[in-house]
């Protein structure tokens, strides 16, 4: 009796199919859902851009169609969903706990593809120093993976307590990838990056969990306004590379904040993307601690100080930002104050392990 009332966690299978997609074996995403978890939590943890907003069962944004299985409703879905929705089998993913294995169907956010999260073994193929504290790491995988440019992966190494997540630094061009690369910044005192930077780790075995995350290029016609700092170049390079491959004709304004000239890297890659870009492409590195006496003739200061000076139509532009959270918060504030709509600002905040609340 007590076990039935207060019984411990149990897991069930959760399959999420995109609405209107093929229902074949590869069309959806197979996940494991804890009895205490909701469909939404499980999907978000798997890196799926499941539509959602309030998470309390009031907005209805996360509604999805329950194709099979039984759920327990945390808050009665009828408080929010209409009779027609309920009759059609819709449930609120944020309030749905599993009682059995589940299959649901959902309209994913625009541009989101259903790449299944895979756990793949592999090894470090190359470690290429970019600056004194940033390294490009190329992994060779035992089996190929798919991802959307802008997404990230968890990299696991034996002997390090937990996986670390890093954004893919190259585009996938919509194809399966056996070689993937990342730009990794050395975090002083960090267990993983301390290990990585201690010596040449080429050939070392790794395990990759991927892909995760919602960061990607959204449809639009206005300027792609990229703002990056530190190793935040990675997902933006990935996005721009894929956008170029797809024939994107939108203008690009790219501000990159670094301390000194010695912290600049991947300039050749950015130049290669800019060459032949089907629109205007402007890249401005901005240095915050470059000695006054140096030969640097470019802009100096914090990257956020230069955001408002760009001649961009904010009504149509989209901002894509990646870097340390304080930089992103400040940039977001400037953009919002200048009149850019919040739903046109997309950010990928970088955290190191010290920011993680719980494992």
């Amino acid at each position: 009796m007590l076990k039935a009332l207060f019984g411990g966690a149990k897991s069930f299978a959760l399959r999420i199919n995109p609405t209107g997609g093929e229902q074949g074996a590869d069309a959806g995403l197979d996940l494991v859902i804890d009895k205490k978890g909701t469909i939404l939590e499980t999907a978000l943890e798997a890196g799926l851009a499941f539509p959602h907003d309030c998470k309390v069962g009031s907005c209805g944004t996360c509604k999805c169609k329950l194709k099979s299985g039984k759920i327990r409703e945390r808050v009665d879905n009828a408080l929010t969903l209409s009779r027609e929705d309920l009759m059609a089998g819709y449930v609120l993913a944020c309030q749905a706990h599993p009682k059995t294995d589940l299959v649901v169907e959902v309209d994913l956010l625009e541009g989101e593809e259903m790449h299944p999260v895979k756990v793949v073994a592999g090894s470090i193929k190359a470690c290429n120093r970019q600056t004194h504290d940033i390294m490009e790491v190329v992994l060779e995988l035992d089996e190929p993976i798919e991802y959307t440019a802008g997404q990230y992966a968890d990299i696991e190494v034996d002997g390090i307590d937990a996986p670390r997540n890093f954004s893919f630094a190259t585009g996938s061009n919509g194809a399966l990838q056996l070689n993937v690369s990342f730009l990794i910044k050395h975090v002083p005192g960090g267990a993983f990056t301390g290990w990585l930077f201690a010596e040449d780790r080429t050939g070392h075995a790794i395990k990759l969990h991927a892909p995760y995350g919602f960061f990607h290029l959204y449809e639009g016609a206005g300027t792609i306004f990229c703002i990056a700092g530190g190793s935040g170049l990675a997902p933006l390079l990935s996005i721009l590379e894929d956008a170029k491959h797809a024939g994107c004709t939108r203008d690009v304004v790219f501000l990159y904040g670094a301390r000194t000239q010695t912290d600049l890297y991947k300039l050749d890659k950015i130049q290669a993307i800019a060459d032949g870009w089907h629109g205007e492409f402007r890249f401005d590195p901005i240095l915050s601690e470059e000695p006054e006496s140096s030969d640097w003739t470019g802009p100096r200061g914090l990257v956020t100080e230069f955001i408002a000076q760009q001649n961009i139509d904010l009504a149509t532009a989209q901002a894509y930002m990646c870097g340390p959270p304080p930089m992103i918060d400040a940039a977001e504030d400037v953009l919002t104050k200048a009149g850019m709509a919040a739903n046109n600002i997309f950010a990928d905040r970088f955290f190191d392990r010290s920011n993680v609340l719980s494992d």
Binding site: C54, C59, D76, A78, I312, A315, A341, S358
Partner: protein, 386 residues
């Protein structure tokens, strides 16, 4: 250490329980914690620490006083009844009525029924398991709002800081009419929400499963039951009056958490969309509800993981706010207007600035932002979005 702070809630309850156990003038013990806590909150430094309490053992330690609270409230009422049955309540052996003890009992019950009951109840309302949600219903009853969870979910979370949210006071609104607005809003939302829920399930709004019946029964039956158990209508009246005062305190709390803030309907909630009260006492006794804006951004976050935002919209000690709120000229002159002026100039988006100035015009307040898109104009090379 971070998780142990929340046992201040238990300490307040133990004081109230001990008061009714000892009887006599000790019934003031419960409300006696109020001036002590107020003094400490006012004179100790503000608490901006993120204690980093994690899931697991420390999360359990933080959670425990919340679950315990329901039982302690029941225990307090049991001892309140016992006080009448074995000690005559506020009547001495000669049958003389002590107004002081009546007042002490009333204020003690009202105080603990509002603080820490409201924030604990709110936290349990958002939990996954049926048991904390059941506790939430019981705790809501102690401040006369059994079905508060319904309105909280279908209106407050979605309409925060907009005119559709009865929990958000508009600029210029006094505390006293707001208490009526929020009380009415909470009850109307609950009744309408239940009726719509049943219609959506294909049932009549009068179906026996309508939770409004339960609310009516509990709100009448609970003070009646206390009176019957104590053997005197005085106990029932004290209970009813304490429930009412607790409800007023709860809504006054709403007033100070959301006063005058503006959000464009449908736009995302940002960290500046609620006032922070970061007193060292109110944070633990309010189980972090005084810095709960992250809860509006992501309601899955447990209370002990809510981060204080001293960089966000901040008010002074909530005890100061309560006192000033009772005296409108003090509230408007020293807190509401200067704080909202700062908020408008430093946090509000251009659209929010426009709405804020419209709200100021309605309130007869100064238009402290003459051109609401000043920020955009400060960047002349950018083409402002409309």
């Amino acid at each position: 250490m971070g998780a142990l702070r929340y046992y201040i809630c238990t300490a307040v309850m133990v004081a109230a329980i001990a008061g009714f156990y000892l009887g006599g003038n000790y019934v003031w013990l419960g409300v006696g914690t109020f001036p002590v806590l107020m003094f400490l909150d006012l004179f100790l430094p503000q608490d901006h620490r993120d204690y980093g309490v994690k899931e697991g053992v420390s999360g359990f330690i933080a959670d425990f006083p919340l679950f315990l609270h329901t039982f302690l409230m029941i225990a307090m009422y049991a001892l309140f009844v016992r006080w009448f049955v074995t000690m005559g309540g506020p009547f001495n052996a000669a049958g003389e009525w002590s107004w002081a003890q009546t007042l002490g009992a009333f204020l003690s019950i009202a105080w603990v029924s509002a603080v820490p009951t409201l924030p604990i109840s709110h936290e349990l309302m958002h939990r996954t398991h049926w048991f904390p949600r059941f506790c939430n219903k019981i705790l809501n009853t102690f401040y006369m709002d059994t079905n508060r969870d319904i309105g909280h979910i279908i209106t407050h979370h979605i309409h925060l800081n907009t005119p559709a949210d009865a929990d958000t006071p508009y600029r210029g609104q006094l505390l006293y009419p707001f208490l009526w607005q929020a009380t009415k809003g909470s009850y109307v939302d609950a009744v309408e929400g239940e009726a719509n829920r049943l219609r959506n399930r294909g049932k009549s709004p009068w179906h026996p499963s309508n939770k409004t019946y339960m609310q009516i029964l509990l709100l009448i039956g609970f003070p009646l039951g206390i009176g019957l158990a104590a053997g005197t209508w005085v106990a029932g009246v004290i209970t009813l009056a304490a429930m009412f005062l607790a409800k007023m305190i709860v809504e006054a709390f709403n007033y100070h958490q959301h006063y005058g803030l503006i959000r464009v309907p449908g736009e995302p909630v940002k960290i500046y969309h609620a006032w922070n009260h970061l007193g060292p006492i109110v944070r633990p006794i309010g189980v972090e509800i005084t810095n709960h804006i992250n809860h509006h951004e992501d309601s899955y976050i447990p209370f002990y993981a809510l981060k204080p935002h001293p960089e966000g919209a901040c008010m002074p000690s909530i005890f100061v706010c309560f006192i000033f709120g009772l005296i409108p000229p003090l509230w408007f002159h020293f807190l509401a207007k200067p704080k909202l002026k700062y908020w408008d100039n430093n946090f509000a988006s251009p659209e929010e600035q426009k709405l804020a100035m419209q709200a100021n015009a309605r309130a007869g307040w100064p238009m402290w932002i003459e051109a609401p898109q000043a920020a955009a104009q400060a960047a002349p090379q950018m083409v402002a979005a409309e």
